[in-house]
């Protein structure tokens, strides 16, 4: 125990003097969150809308004004007839063409589903789908409001329900941030723990200090724990920094308990620290260790549901995600932050991660034991 304390104290002393590393490690969360969240956001913006109003009623004007008022759409030219509207779209003068047919207001007031033409430039498929969805939602909202106003009083409960739905649906900017920020947090924790630990151990091999440590009575387990602990703590501090920053800057909530998140990250850190240590056991230079860690990280990131939703993957890839610890941690972070998921909801993920963590860290200790006998390079 004394020996372990001594090792940990030494690691912290060295870390404190490594100002370059400290700067990177503590600036990284803020920097990554800012850059990745802004750069990778695929928000809907500046969608140009051309309009054709064949109804010319109060409702049709309200709907078209709502388009102009939204910060997603930019009002474009107003067409005089259907042919002109089509021409505008074909010429690329607009991304979306809205045609309010005659009888629109009458249908809405009569309680029938009013019909409305939405033509979208499909060459940008992502924009097309989401732009159309958003435009459709605007029309629905305005039509409902109009009908309600005409019918008189609206029950408050239903009004507030509509309002909530509207806010979520109608703020795709927020939605994109909500999706990105937990992903960035997961990557951050992973990189700091796995990469920094692996490199730190291999650096000792390069410097020859590992041999000097291996002739002491420190056991492989003590050595692994002593090396992993400081970086595990840094990862925790980074997690705290990142969630705090995400909350203050991006207004990403933390609906669930921070303790559940702490439990999740602890289990996850066992796997990433174990992976870093394993990589260092099979590497003789920092480059080798870095490539080994990256090799696994790329797969882990691809199969984590960060960029590509797991549900869209083919069967075999979905199977692979089940052995990917990052995927479970991603689910935990999203669950705790965005859905307020608790211990009971995340029990499966937590147990799986814990199992993987024990396996990875145990494997690393075994690798060190063999390494200790083999003496490295």
């Amino acid at each position: 125990m004394r020996a372990l304390r001594c090792l940990v104290r030494k690691e912290f002393r060295q870390l404190r003097r490594d100002t370059a590393l400290l700067r990177v490690v503590f600036a990284l969360p803020i920097f990554q969150l800012l850059v990745l969240s802004y750069a990778l956001n695929n928000d809907l913006r500046n969608v140009r809308v051309a309009t054709l109003d064949e109804d010319r009623t109060a409702l049709s004007r309200t709907v078209l004004d709502a388009f102009a008022a939204s910060d997603v759409f930019v009002p474009g030219p107003a067409a005089r007839d259907g042919d002109e509207l089509e021409a505008l779209l074909r010429a690329g003068a607009c991304d979306l063409a809205v045609r309010v047919p005659a009888g629109f207001e009458r249908d809405a007031l009569a309680g029938r589903v009013p019909s409305l033409g939405l033509d979208v430039d499909g060459t940008n498929s992502s924009l097309a789908g989401r732009g159309a969805g958003y435009a459709g939602a605007i029309v629905m909202r305005e039509a409902e409001r109009f009908a309600a106003a005409q019918a008189g009083a609206v029950p408050p409960a239903s009004a507030s329900r509509v309002a909530t739905v509207v806010r979520f649906l109608y703020n795709p900017e927020l939605e994109s941030r909500l999706f990105m920020v937990p992903g960035v947090i997961v990557m951050l924790v992973t990189i700091v723990s796995a990469l920094a630990t692996g490199m730190a151990v291999v650096r000792e091999k390069e410097l020859g200090t590992l041999d000097q440590v291996l002739v002491t009575p420190l056991t492989p387990l003590q050595y692994a724990v002593g090396k992993a602990l400081p970086f595990g703590l840094i990862a925790l501090v980074d997690l705290a920094l990142a969630t705090a920053f995400a909350r203050l800057w991006f207004h990403v909530p933390m609906l669930g308990s921070p303790w559940v998140l702490l439990l999740g990250v602890s289990a996850y850190l066992l796997t990433t620290l174990g992976l870093g240590l394993l990589a260092s056991a099979v590497s003789n230079t920092q480059q080798q260790a870095m490539f080994t860690v990256w090799f696994f990280l790329v797969f882990a990131i691809m199969l984590s549901g960060f960029f590509f939703p797991v549900d869209n993957m083919p069967e075999w890839a979905r199977w692979l995600t089940r052995i990917n610890p990052m995927r479970y941690f991603m689910d935990i972070v999203r669950g705790v932050l965005l859905r307020g998921a608790g211990l009971a909801d995340l029990r499966g993920e937590l147990l799986t991660l814990l199992g993987m963590g024990v396996a990875a860290f145990g494997g690393a200790v075994l690798a060190f034991r063999r390494e200790g006998a083999a003496g490295g390079g």
Binding site: A3, R13, Q14, G208, D211, P217, L218, G375
Partner: protein
């Protein structure tokens, strides 16, 4: 005799693939002896020492160090030996005192013991004034003395020094050997390699290794008599060139 030898090896062999770095090494070093382990570059000295310290598993043969079977009684062996590797390998980003505290602390020495040991060792090593200095900023001669101090912090019975004076000036080397003598006087067995033949003269007995095999083992005067060399330099050249 073999039961009480501080370092005992029989048939100790290490192969790397087809290449045999150490071939059937037989040695017996008595307690408190200063044993010079000589040989040209690549002769296999470091490989042999690493096996004796339990850092490298042998391909064959057996060895006992300080009463512990190498490869079996690993825990006890580690507590009884000190090792100073050929490459300088202390933490350059720790101070002199911090290195000493670390390498003593991992043997389980407590705070008070460590402080007492540092107060005893640092003046003897001539490093008392450098306690708070970062190790990386020390001259090589100082670093080597600190390495010795770190290897000694836990009071080992057998000390393995792999070229402890490589690249160090003659005055500093002389000073280093004074420290080695002090240890031997305290009963520590010193197993030392060197390429400086004047240092070989300071050893009680020396072995000379050529391409993985020990070709001669005797006191310096015995070797001179047997080979007709005028000094150890001469002896070394005759044996290694032969």
């Amino acid at each position: 005799m073999s039961g009480e030898a501080a370092v005992f090896a029989r048939g100790l062999t290490r192969r790397f693939g087809d290449f045999t770095a150490v071939e059937s090494l037989d040695l017996e070093v008595a307690g408190g002896e200063i044993f010079g382990f000589l040989g040209a570059n690549g002769a296999g000295k470091t490989t042999a020492i690493r096996m004796l310290c339990g850092l490298l598993p042998p391909s064959g043969g057996e060895a006992r160090v300080a009463g512990c079977r190498v490869g079996r009684d690993t825990g006890a062996l580690k507590r009884r030996i000190g090792y100073m590797s050929q490459r300088f390998s202390l933490y350059e980003d720790l101070t002199v005192l911090e290195n000493l505290e670390f390498f003593g602390g991992v043997y389980g020495l407590g705070r008070a013991e460590l402080a007492a040991r540092a107060d005893e060792l640092l003046p003897r090593l001539g490093l008392d004034a450098e306690r708070g200095r970062l190790t990386g900023s020390l001259p090589l001669g100082y670093k080597q003395r600190l390495s010795l101090g770190c290897a000694l912090a836990h009071r080992p019975r057998v000390l393995f020094l792999d070229e402890p004076t490589g690249g160090v000036d003659p005055v500093a080397r002389r000073g280093f050997w004074d420290l080695i003598y002090e240890q031997a006087a305290d009963g520590v067995t010193v197993f030392v390699t060197t390429h400086y033949m004047d240092e070989a003269e300071y050893c009680g007995r020396v072995s000379i290794m050529v391409q993985g095999r020990v070709v001669a083992l005797d006191t310096p005067s015995g070797l001179k008599a047997r080979t007709g060399g005028v000094d150890m330099q001469d002896v070394f050249l005759r044996l290694v060139d032969a």
